[in-house]
Symmetry: C2
Subunit: 129 residues, 2 copies
């Protein structure tokens, strides 16, 4: 797993970390049952604070993408991650919606945005930045 953190981003670094782990799962680089580094080791590796890694882990745990086993370690959801519930789909749509609206204001056609989405899926699966 290669993690790239932009210090000068408006996206908090705990979120950047969580998002890149999510991409790792999407890509299949991180599989069910795989263990993640300890908060201390990961923090040292990434040059950030232990509590920041911890926050990223809890963010992912709340989404049920990982399991945090106290005093033991952190693993990718061992039974596999279930398909999106209706609630999760709606939450995703609600988050994407303002971006689509902005695209429309910028005169992007529906087809252009569909193409953009398909390219993003490819990029993510290929681990392409």
């Amino acid at each position: 797993m290669f993690i790239e953190i932009e210090a000068n981003s408006s996206v908090p670094i705990y979120l950047q970390l969580a998002q890149q782990l999510i991409e790792g799962i999407a890509r299949g680089d991180l599989k069910p049952g795989d263990s993640l580094p300890s908060v201390r080791a990961f923090a040292a590796d990434l040059g950030m604070n232990m509590h920041t890694v911890n926050k990223a882990y809890h963010y992912l745990e709340e989404k049920e993408f990982i399991q945090i086993v106290a005093k033991s370690g952190v693993i990718i959801q061992p039974n596999g991650i279930p398909k999106a519930s209706e609630k999760e789909k709606q939450q995703l749509a609600a988050q994407i919606r303002p971006l689509i609206a902005e695209g429309l204001v910028l005169k992007l056609s529906e087809e252009e945005m569909v193409a953009m989405l398909r390219e993003l899926v490819q990029d993510i699966k290929e681990g392409k930045l």
Copy 2:
């Protein structure tokens, strides 16, 4: 323009306001040259602070969706909003990317996400919540 602000959202209310104005533009409800309420009047109408509306306006001005004419008023970009530049497209893609990745983790297929996008475009154009 009907504006709905959720007080208990994690999205700042100045951003909610800006996003709903963007939807108004996308929908064609707000056309080039249309004037927006004064910061004071809008704030009173929405039950929020003048400075919060002002922040939303400056957010939109930075995107060049509106023009703020000091000591006069605020209008939708009178010459029309130009088509997205490459930079704007990349910025949009960068913001959508983590959401697509999350969709993939939740086992949504590319086609399901395309369908979701098409529905969002419809909803926005119809002003449907």
